[in-house]
Symmetry: C2
Subunit: 435 residues, 2 copies
């Protein structure tokens, strides 16, 4: 149903004369102030057919559907008048030359998806960036800086393409199995990369003028606030823990309540306590127990063990560290009270990546000039922008996710909001050219 | 290690002159006051080798190991001077005739096991009953009533053999798949039963004088109280619920804490609340959340759903019903507070089965006459005795489980406690003969 809505919405926009109604204000001409909104929405509607399964979009990196999605993007780059290029890390690039010999303004996102995801997480920013470059080319708006469109490889599997492009290979195991069932090494070769020439894909600090990424919010803050544009303050830092709760399996009927070492009960108490702690303090910090695997997981046996995960995020690294420590104290107390033990293993962590203050001001000014209500907000999700922020000033533009839903077949962003976002990106690119 | 302990313990008892030490009091002669404790423990040690795997005893009903266990038992019946018989339901029987034409005293248990279980749950009562009949025969202690030893088929799969023997076929689906991968119908034929002649195995109300079952406690109450014999008050009634918690899956990073519909959090709150409720009232009632299966069960996605189970038991049927209702009220409140919904499906229920008051007195008197400390207690676990209680007076004798552990490779009962239990059974059989 959503998909039909989307197609109908896109068709309506494509067919609209763009002189009346809500889009009239932002698409008065092809003088280069605004993009061709119908075109970018049409690309998105056509892209929706690639990797669409009964359970959602499945363009998992290095899979056949990912290859098909990349081929579609490469075709759109070609028909937009650019020469597509694949760097050694497997990232897809298109370049519009500038008037001066300066580092490029880099804009883009990704086209791979999670398992059973939606069509907006990544593609909006990827096709939006291409539309911006095409509009600049078609309207002969030659900037001082070159503009490079980038479609990063394997964002959902751990921002692999952008990590490699900024020279971060230390934390990556390229022989680890990706969700496609192929290793990163195999996958990168498959999509046209060449790890033996990885140095050619690496961008040194200062070699990029600025990175801008348009993305769907993936949360419900903009919708709730009735605003169209999110000016991203930064991407939250993250810690992932694998927590093992060890109790003792015993007979559910014959074991008195005061003689149990119930690992499910201990895991439940921990889950509730983590939630209470994270909500007990003002701020945008989040913590999630998203996975829980008890043993033996049988109705008439008290659980002897539980494996669970904690996902903890905030824009303030010190706050993340403080909560991580607090969760471990809470676990020790619950272990004591329930006759169980908790063991923590940190399986991933990333530092917060802050957006550049001048770039945030430029995005806000761009939204203002288009008459779009905006607000500053953290990104709770990870993005390629967090990697690129290590080598250049970074900014991100969010557009609303209907119902705050993402990583779901029900993920949806209204066609008019897609157009608003792409126009802010175009406007911001022009403004950062003067920086 | 446990197994070696057991073998050592059994060997020590077998080798002991039985005139000194702790057993001297209860085994002064072969005049028929006490059983041959060394023999029953030797049977148990030898039986431990059948179905023993690295993860525990696996004599799952209708499996090859179950067949081997039954063959071992049949061989012991033969060598004890009885003619083994298999009834149409697959139960193994041995009969010692009485002086009068009266209904038999039925004694026994089962030899099948759970997956990855121990060697004591079932075999103690089965070989104990055979040892009692053999002692009666060897000492020419002919009772008024016949004594029948029974080894019930497939106790762990739902007291199948005893259910069929008391004519309860209404609640049974004989074509359902048992844990062995065979249907009950196939399994019963395999072990020598004949469902076309099921009526021949059925015992009418009043056709059995009394049923006595010796069993390990499977809990830690006796050990904790320092008592050797449990006089079972009855077998608790049980309700099983399958509970479906429905929330909404969303991004663990991008979804603010106050906009979540987290099914794992709701399930955790419910688990804690069930525990608080059941422990908040005096009594021996137990409730267990033993199974929890979240969806999608991924570290960085808020869970959209959880399937969990509740196992609720008490000797008082009204109390069981009251708690069942209370759990559903608690769930509704938690659903309200967390933006989730709870749906309950009752997947099984059984009424409490009470032991006969005179039989309980007889078991207590038997323990007293042997100088064994005892206490009355409910059985939290289900047993064949709960089925047989429908057709005749029933009593159960418990012996301690070390550490309260059962349904585990670490299940263990000390050889001396096995002997104490079998002696109480012998003594009680003689006393019920006068009823």
């Amino acid at each position: 149903m959503r998909r039909r809505d989307l197609l109908k919405g896109a068709a309506a926009i494509a067919a609209a004369p763009l002189v009346n109604g809500p889009l009239a204000r932002i698409a008065p001409s092809r003088r280069g102030d605004v993009v061709d909104g119908a075109r970018v929405n049409e690309w998105l509607s056509r892209f929706d057919a690639i990797g669409r399964t009964p359970t959602g979009i499945n363009r998992v990196a290095y899979s056949e559907f990912d290859l098909a999605g990349r081929a579609f993007a490469i075709e759109r780059i070609r028909e937009s008048g650019f020469t597509p290029r694949i760097d050694a890390a497997g990232n897809i690039l298109a370049r519009l030359e500038g008037r001066e010999s300066l580092p490029p303004i880099l804009i883009g996102s990704h086209v791979d998806s999670v398992t059973d995801g939606g069509n907006f997480d990544g593609p909006v920013g990827s096709f939006g960036a291409l539309e911006v470059a095409r509009t600049l080319r078609e309207t002969n708006a030659r900037l001082r800086h070159p503009v490079e469109v980038v479609i990063w490889a394997n964002e959902e599997g751990g921002t692999i393409g952008s990590k490699l492009a900024v020279g971060d290979t230390g934390t990556l195991d390229l022989d680890a199995m990706a969700r496609s069932g192929r290793t990163h090494r195999q996958g990168i070769a498959l999509v046209g990369g060449d790890l033996s020439k990885l140095a050619t894909a690496e961008r040194a600090k200062g070699s990029v003028h600025c990175y801008l990424e348009l993305h769907i919010e993936q949360g419900g803050n903009l919708e709730k606030a009735g605003r169209t544009i999110g000016v991203v303050l930064g991407i939250v830092g993250l810690r992932w823990y694998e927590v093992t709760v060890t109790g003792f399996a015993n007979h559910a009927g014959a074991t008195p309540m005061d003689q149990r070492h119930d690992a499910i009960l201990a895991a439940a108490k921990f889950t509730v306590a983590v939630n209470d702690a994270i909500r007990g303090e003002a701020g945008a910090q989040v913590a999630t127990v998203g996975r829980m695997v008890p043993t033996p997981n049988t109705r008439n046996v008290i659980a002897g063990g539980v494996e669970l995960t904690v996902d903890l995020r905030d824009l303030d690294a010190a706050k993340v560290a403080r909560f991580a420590e607090r969760f471990q104290r809470i676990a020790a107390e619950i272990g004591q009270a329930t006759g169980t033990t908790f063991a923590f293993k940190r399986s991933a962590s990333s530092e917060p990546a802050m957006a550049d203050a001048r770039v945030m001001d430029i995005i806000a000014a761009s939204a203002d000039s288009l008459g779009l209500a905006h607000q500053r907000m953290p990104s709770g999700a990870g993005h390629d922008a967090q990697e690129v922020a290590r080598i250049c000033p970074m900014g991100m533009i969010f557009v609303p996710s209907v119902g705050g839903i993402s990583h779901s077949p029900r993920e949806y962003t209204k066609p008019e909001d897609v157009v608003h976002g792409v126009n802010v990106l175009l406007n911001a690119v022009k403004r950062v050219d003067s920086l």
